[in-house]
Symmetry: C2
Subunit: 647 residues, 2 copies
């Protein structure tokens, strides 16, 4: 991986090829002026390439002479190979940070190879696959019926016993067998929980074309992958907002909408429509026929799962908060109105509890938790923070109402992780001048979860924000200003934002963030306590969700959202729900493990947990009431304090 | 049961209460003139009640004085109690038969009580039944999901483990549970071959209303019974011609019709329509809601089964004559378009071979064959004669192409067993004057299977028909006449028939009958031979089919259709297919036995059997080439011979 060295400090960082140069600087904690979010419009993040080259876009913000001399805008440049760049004085927000050179790696998002190691590759076929049947034609001495001939061959060649052949499949069989001259391809499911079933036939050998669709049904985003079951490769993928967003941002508002007359049908139609569009798009791009989809594998939270299956989630919302089901029968994709042939089946990852869904089960599978001996802490942060602690032997879990802060809710200028969202922030210790980076590298229009954490953590670490989440009132900075709602931190001036209005962080925002992070931390504490385990015993922390990509460990720890655990023990999973669904699609043993995981996981209901409120109150400080839990953070913070310009 | 004594002979016979007096006379082998078939129009069957009374209809054929003296028309009278009747000289076709008094019983058609003894009543619930679930309402300390709550109760209270709850059932569950205040009724199937499934829910306790529909899908007739599963009683029943009859009389013509473009859909629509009408009628008569049908249990021959399920039977017709399947998955009644709720399921009795269907499997069950140690010969005669030999240990079977003779096909005046069909015939030994009885007691319009057998057997026994099936040419009878096609036996004169035309039996008719009976007998012989068994070893003979009701054992044996086995070893089953379906509806163990029977029965394909043709040729005589097989018949025949008036 390319290494980027920033002069004059000599700070170096290793990044993924193609990484944005401004992002590399932020990763290396090199302070750089940048206020347009990476749009290339403010022209502040000027750097000079000293050794090596970067891919860059020509911009009118640089003169021909500057370009000749090696100037680039960092936000418009990407790193492909080792490079040394100079950060000139004019690009620095103030004086250089005192912090020494960093050799941090970007967050380790597990690669397919990593996951292959974590999830044992048992010699196990996909749960649903095409099976080639080469049969003898019947004659007068061997005139058993077509179905028995199929079953004999399934058993003899594929080891599949006692298969049931569905009625639609029986209807297809006689012609397929004769058209294929007794070579037929069967859609055979071995579902683990019930008997094998053959759901369809095609004449001849069509086994070279068999695909599965892995689906993550998120409250906000729906993501799919079309997998070639022969190669195991994803041949097309796609993601789209869940069109239910029009009926409310969070799961609770969806439940309320579904509880109105006609609401369930409406929400079901919306999610099915989103999925159908995604799958049809993927099929078209990969030039795959819907008839060749053998199965869908769906993972989603409990409410999304209910809505997709058109099962009322109404009673999840009111005490005693029970879902209709945790396990769902295998079904036909056509039952849900999804693209596919008559044979196409659909599996739904079980949802252990109202607030612990199939997305988490799939995520655990994707992270290899059911196979590891390591004590693992699994965290998926969204509106709810789902937390699981355990290993292959046992798993205990809870769900914390983190509230919508991490998704931009309850934050004055909060927004979802979409183009224009500030997702990374660095703040100069002395002047409080921010460096920001937006998703899509466009003008900033708001702050998303990781930007919020970055911003608050930076302000806290440099001393501008107190342990109680209040701004210091004695600071000399143009960025800490009195607004209508009290002191505000000015992230983006009106003239530099994409909306024409200022983007600020208020004390109320910080308060909401405080509550969210406290919920997560106290959930973790309750789990550990329930097992009489110290958090020191945690050997690996898995952060699931797209949220993790640019989540800065040092900062997230500084706020006290996660325990202070050595950074090398953290891994970032990405979309664990989709990854898990993909893994289940490929292996019957993985599916069996997913089912087993869902059945055996212990769920702690925090709302009735005696210790939870104590833990929560203690966590309503940065990083925590008990500073002994965060010695490293405290040390770092004290170093940065010295730079702050007090009035 | 009432006893009828006929004077002056003193012949007595015991009959079922309500039996027709003319039929009683035929049963007693008392010759009576009757040519209108029991219509009351010929006025010939006059009798005088001497002791006791009969229920009779007043007729203008008798004078007031005659009525005063006790005269009745036998065909218009029914027997309710012991009675002695005089058969006056004018009612006798000729001189009285020399045969002595008979004490024969009518054919023993198994009663429900008889069958209950034969089919063990294991403590076994119906395969699909409503199950009452009284559950605790969830609270915060017990907030498992609704489906798990149902499963726990199913297991604890009903012993049903590992049930799958279908998607439609999951959709119904939350509201049903709350509407019923956690008392719900589940439609639970324990199908034997796969895992238990819950297919629907109703709020509250609805277990007092649960019904099953037993169905016999015959090629000609469809018969159903609506069964109250709580009492085991049939609350409504019905039968109707299979409307597929419009596409051909026999199974082969149906297969041909189904093989044409659009034909399968057409034939499926027809049979589904017939069934739907029957079921809707039964539901209306019994005031039962379709929602309360828990399941259908269907039995039919292999072709009818394929057509009902819309599975092509095309390849049954052409070598090597294979059906698509022998076993069929449980399905939803709605999949076939039959009346019912979303929860209503449907079971199809397996069809062991192309020419051995679920009707025979059901018949074996109804006759108790899978539970008996007795060596049993089971015969179901229709277009095909299906024959099974065995007991609870083993079963061997074959199907003989008897041809359509027994259903009236290939017989000049042949017809199906419908109103106006001559179903019983007695012939005066001396004059060859016939006594006939029609179905429905209306003017004769043709001859059905049992009438054909009666007629031919009578003619053979009295010597008018030779062992080779040819009429004697030297007889002095107005009833044996030269027609266009050679000698014909005149059964009904033109002026007495319902069609205005004569009804005759031709030598060609006899030839067709000969081939049909030879097929049956040689099938029986092949089965016995395959097991190296003598037919003497047969302990019980079961005759299935409506055909058996008035089938005269002496006569059917005289023709050599069945072996000469003591009459007391014969039982008549009636519609074994429907009876079996009804039994399966009531007991999971019976269903298991039916499945096991279908799986283990050995089917011999006569068309490739080396010995079959020899047996067949030997059987092309009345009663058989080898007269030593029929000693009693031969003795009786020689007695009757003496009466024949030779020219």
């Amino acid at each position: 991986m390319p290494k980027v060295t920033f002069t004059p400090d000599g700070t170096a960082v290793t990044v993924a090829p193609g990484e944005n140069l401004l992002r590399a600087a932020m990763l290396a904690d090199v302070a750089v002026s940048a206020s347009c979010g990476g749009d290339g419009t403010c022209g502040k993040c000027r750097m000079v390439v000293e050794q090596g080259t970067v891919d860059t876009t020509v911009t009118a913000k640089l003169t021909a002479e500057e370009i000749e001399r090696g100037y680039v805008l960092a936000c418009l440049s990407t790193v492909t190979d080792d490079v040394t760049v100079h950060v000139p004085l004019e690009s620095r927000p103030g004086k250089a940070p005192v912090r020494g050179g960093s050799s941090r790696q970007p967050n380790v998002v597990l690669s397919p190879e990593d996951r292959a190691v974590r999830v044992p590759r048992q010699a196990s076929p996909p749960p649903v696959a095409k099976r080639l049947l080469r049969m003898n034609a019947p004659d007068l001495t061997d005139n058993i019926n077509d179905a028995s001939r199929v079953k004999q061959t399934l058993k003899r060649v594929h080891g599949i016993r006692e298969a049931t052949i569905s009625l639609p499949a029986l209807r297809e069989l006689p012609q397929a067998a004769r058209d294929g001259e007794w070579v037929v391809t069967a859609f055979a499911a071995e579902p683990c929980d019930t008997m094998p079933i053959v759901s369809g036939f095609q004449a001849g050998d069509t086994t070279s074309r068999q695909y599965a669709v892995a689906v993550d049904v998120g409250t906000t985003t729906v993501e799919i992958a079309l997998i070639d079951l022969n190669s195991g490769e994803v041949v097309a993928s796609g993601n789209e907002y869940n069109s239910q967003v029009a009926r409310g941002d969070d799961v609770i508002s969806r439940v309320i909408a579904a509880s109105k007359p006609g609401g369930l049908d409406d929400l079901n139609t919306l999610i099915v429509g989103t999925l159908r569009d995604l799958v049809e798009g993927a099929l078209a791009r990969a030039d795959v026929s819907a008839e060749d989809i053998v199965s869908y594998y769906v993972a989603g939270n409990t409410v999304m799962t209910h809505l997709l299956l058109k099962i009322s989630p109404e009673f999840i919302r009111t005490s005693p908060y029970v879902p209709v089901a945790s396990e769902f029968p295998w079904m036909r994709a056509a039952q849900l109105g999804l693209p596919g042939g008559r044979a196409t089946r659909l599996y739904v990852t079980p949802c252990p509890a109202s607030w612990l869904g199939g997305d988490i089960v799939a995520g655990l599978v994707a992270a290899g938790v059911p196979w590891t001996e390591k004590l693992t802490l699994f965290i998926d942060v969204g509106t709810n923070g789902e937390i699981v602690l355990g290993n292959s032997e046992w798993l205990v879990s809870c769900s914390c109402s983190a509230g919508p802060a991490f998704e931009g809710g309850g934050i004055l200028h909060g927004m979802r992780a979409a183009d224009g969202a500030i997702e990374q922030v660095r703040i100069d210790d002395a002047t409080l001048v921010p460096t920001i980076m937006t998703i899509g590298g466009v003008k900033p229009i708001g702050i998303c979860g990781s930007g919020l954490i970055d911003c608050a953590a930076e302000l806290f670490m440099c001393g501008a924000l107190g342990r109680d989440g209040k701004f210091r009132t004695d600071l000399d900075s143009a960025h800490l200003v009195q607004g209508e709602r009290g002191l505000e931190y000015l992230l983006v001036a009106a003239e530099e934002s994409g909306t024409g209005r200022r983007i600020v962080l208020t004390e109320v925002d910080v308060e909401n963030l405080m509550r969210a992070k406290a919920a997560i931390f106290s959930g973790i504490s309750v789990l550990a306590e329930s097992l009489d385990l110290s958090l020191d015993a945690v050997e690996e922390v898995v952060i699931a969700g797209g949220f993790g990509h640019y989540l800065d460990l040092e900062r997230v720890t500084a706020l006290g959202m996660v325990p202070e655990i050595a950074p090398e023990r953290f891994v970032f999973l990405g979309n664990g729900s989709l990854l898990g669904a993909k893994l289940v699609a490929g292996s019957r043993e993985v599916l069996r493990t997913a089912r087993h995981t869902a059945e055996t996981i212990t769920y702690l209901e925090l709302s009735v947990n005696a210790g939870f409120m104590d833990h929560y109150s203690s966590a309503l400080f940065f990083p925590h009431t008990d500073l002994s839990l965060f010695p490293t953070t405290e040390k770092l913070r004290k170093q940065r304090f010295t730079n702050l310009a007090v009035i």
